[in-house]
């Protein structure tokens, strides 16, 4: 049975040093929903996702975030991940000398144990099989298991590896930061289809930050949010995107 999740963001404000980046963001997200956030460069889209994951670089200066009745802002990064929050990074970090397979197994077993104390850790062999199964769905090269985490991965490989991690760590809310950048049209289709499948299977709530309206060809959003200057300034359906495509963000923001 799929556990229902709910994330309520109210008037969230955040800064890096003395620079204010989020100026009061409010958003409600439920299991199974898909939200897409668009907006001009520097509008605070990536920061919003990073702050929700708990990046210590940013200081939360106001507002509240409640995740399944708990105060998310009081939780550490580790606790947020264990509670079911996932962030697909725009620029995933390379970790030299650590193989992708061993890292992901460690994380998987640790998270599984935290979520259910009776969970039995999966051994390297069976875990590699799980990875291979998911990797073939994402059309990834099988040698990934033995490669170092994100080291020398191409742009597309990095994005696929983020989705692979999401598939195996089984979050209930996933933030995907520009998951479509650096992907060619075939890879975008593969990734978007797989994200959709995972969402259906796991009842995932999705928040996708994107620059590219092309993603709407493959993912059907429940809501599209337009961010500008650290705030959500417009919300709607696909018709908003049509407007942007015609006149750019300027046309939309003038109204």
């Amino acid at each position: 049975m799929i556990k229902k999740s709910n994330l309520q963001i109210k008037n969230l404000r955040a800064a890096i040093g003395s620079t204010k980046i989020l100026n009061g963001v409010s958003l409600q997200i439920n299991s199974g929903e898909t939200h897409i956030i668009m907006g001009p460069n520097g509008s605070g889209k990536s920061t919003l996702l990073s702050v929700l994951m708990g990046n210590p670089k940013y200081e939360v200066t106001g507002g509240s975030v409640v995740f399944n009745k708990k105060n998310l802002l009081k939780m550490s990064v580790t606790e947020r991940a264990q509670a079911g929050i996932f962030l697909g990074f725009q620029h995933p970090q390379a970790i030299a000398g650590v193989t992708f397979g061993s890292f992901l197994r460690l994380a998987h077993n640790f998270v599984a144990k935290e979520r259910d104390s009776k969970a039995v850790p999966i051994a390297p062999g069976p875990f590699a099989n799980l990875m291979r199964e998911e990797m073939s769905k994402l059309k990834m090269d099988q040698t990934f298991i033995g490669r170092f985490v994100n080291e020398g991965f191409s742009g597309g490989e990095k994005k696929k590896s983020e989705i692979l991690q999401m598939a195996l760590l089984k979050p209930s809310v996933a933030f995907l930061d520009e998951i479509d950048s650096g992907l060619d049209i075939d890879a975008l289709k593969t990734v978007a289809t797989e994200v959709g499948t995972i969402q259906k299977e796991q009842g995932l709530a999705l928040v996708i930050v994107s620059h590219n309206p092309k993603i709407l060809d493959f993912i059907e959003p429940d809501k599209i949010h337009i961010m500008s200057k650290g705030k959500i300034v417009a919300q709607g359906g696909k018709e908003i995107v049509a407007k942007i495509e015609r006149g750019g963000y300027d046309a939309l923001l003038k109204n």
Binding site: G54, T78, Q93, I95, V98, L104, A107, F148
Partner: protein
């Protein structure tokens, strides 16, 4: 503290039932001889019934030791009190150290590493025997059939005087430095290995298989001779912390790698944090010979160790790989030296250091190419990883190249564990400590994966242990 049953049984078998009740005796022994003079050296030599040439060598080395100044270019050695050290501990005295005297932090680490009880006693210098004795006997028989000599250095001086005298002190002469002079004056224990022409020793030879000898001595002396076309891998130490009640460990290792031979010398040491670990290690490699030092250093108060290779003839190849971990209050001053004495020789030095909680690690290296040694290839890589702002890392790579026709590569990196890397790993559900440990293991892995499997596993476990409580 009662003696654990398993240990009691083992000690009963070996007639060492009283190994835990020598506390008063140990005390009286400790009160007796400290400090060094000619009489102490004469006594050491007499105890061992040595030939007169060795006594002369010791006495001469002692004179050199007195004349030589302390090295002033490196770590602070002012804490060494030469008058407060036992320079010779007779084997029969050695086993009488009581288990109660072993610091609790070391016992804890034994627990965490899951080291068998009997082995712990041995490693802590409180036990005389342990279970792998039988393994050693069958190994020794097999080696003897091939003409391989693998004995304690003391025994080898008695049993093989000719070959001993021919090579002893030729690679590291007493006058090399103050501590090689000290070692030459008071050496005791260590391993002697001779591998005959064309013989390949398949399994790594390990010092701790030599039971009842003094391989854990503080002034051990190791001499390895690999004859033409032979090969051998020697493993020194283990990941368990080596407890020493005295504060100075000063060993000398000499290796001769003859034409077409290959020697690998692997060290994993984890000294207790009161020890000054000052070691001189040098090898000479001849035509098409291959010398490989693999050196992993944890623990100690100060370690100064720069495994060296003299590349004497064309085709000789030298490799030095080292890993150092400097924790709180520790200074790891390590690196390597390669002297290209002949053309057409090649060398690689790879050094990695990790510092945490104010630990200080230094890479100190020398690559020297003498005039006329053309077509030399050398590559030096040193990487440092610091876990916090309080830690320190220095690099002193010296290149002394007196020849034009050479290929030299040098890379150095210094990195702090990055907030971004930690955030990425923690966003996958790992704790901060797990994330930092993973980064450290990844950093060390190019060196660790060169180790024999069981050591690699142990070292990774030990690195994880070092990381416990080091974050936050």
């Amino acid at each position: 503290m009662p003696v654990p049953k398993k240990t009691k049984k083992l000690l009963d078998k070996t007639g060492q039932t009283d190994a835990f009740s020598f506390k008063t005796k140990t005390k009286s022994f400790f009160a007796s001889k400290r400090g060094l003079n000619e009489d102490v050296i004469r006594e050491i030599s007499a105890q061992k019934s040595e030939p007169s040439w060795m006594l002369d060598l010791r006495l001469n080395a002692y004179k050199i030791f007195l004349k030589k100044k302390m090295p002033a270019w490196g770590p602070d050695l002012s804490g060494i009190d030469f008058n407060n050290i036992h320079y010779y501990v007779r084997p029969q005295d050695k086993v009488k150290r009581s288990w109660e005297e072993v610091p609790s932090e070391i016992k804890d680490t034994f627990d965490k590493l899951g080291i068998p009880e009997a082995e712990r006693k041995f490693l802590a210098g409180t036990g005389a025997q342990f279970e792998s004795e039988m393994v050693y006997h069958s190994l020794a028989e097999n080696l003897a059939k091939q003409g391989v000599i693998f004995e304690s250095t003391d025994d080898a001086l008695k049993h093989h005087p000719d070959i001993f005298k021919k090579y002893f002190g030729t690679i590291v002469p007493p006058a090399d430095n103050k501590f090689s002079a000290l070692n030459s004056a008071v050496w005791s224990g260590g391993s002697f290995i001779y591998v005959p022409k064309g013989v390949h020793v398949e399994l790594p030879l390990q010092a701790y298989f030599r039971i009842n000898s003094e391989n854990m001595g503080q002034f051990e002396r190791t001499l390895i001779i690999a004859d033409e076309g032979s090969s051998v891998h020697y493993v020194e130490g283990c990941t368990a912390p080596t407890y020493s009640s005295d504060s100075l460990h000063s060993a000398v290792v000499e290796i001769i790698v003859k034409k077409g031979a290959r020697v690998q010398y692997t060290t994993i040491q984890n000294w207790s944090s009161n020890v000054y670990n000052l070691v001189t290690k040098r090898a000479a490699a001849y035509e098409n010979a291959h010398m490989y030092w693999l050196d992993c250093n944890l623990g100690s108060k100060v370690t100064m160790k720069y495994p060296s290779i003299l590349l004497c003839k064309p085709g000789a190849k030298g490799e030095i790989q080292s890993l150092a971990f400097a924790g709180e209050g520790q200074h790891q001053d390590a690196g390597g030296k390669v002297i290209h004495l002949s053309g057409n020789t090649s060398s690689t030095i790879i050094s990695k250091s990790i510092s945490k909680k104010g630990g200080h690690s230094t890479y100190r290296g020398l690559v020297k190419v003498v005039p006329g040694a053309s077509k030399v290839k050398t590559r030096v890589v040193c990487d440092a990883l610091m876990l916090d702002k309080a830690s320190r890392s220095d690099t002193y790579p010296v290149m002394d190249i007196k020849e034009q026709d050479v290929a030299i590569a040098h890379e150095a990196t210094v990195a702090k564990i990055g907030e971004d890397e930690l955030f990425y790993l923690m966003s996958r559900g790992l704790s901060e400590e797990q994330a930092a440990t993973l980064i450290v293991n990844g950093f060390a892995s190019p060196i660790v994966k060169q180790l024999p499997m069981e050591y690699a596993v142990e070292l990774n476990r030990l690195l994880a242990l070092e990381m416990t409580g080091s974050v936050g």
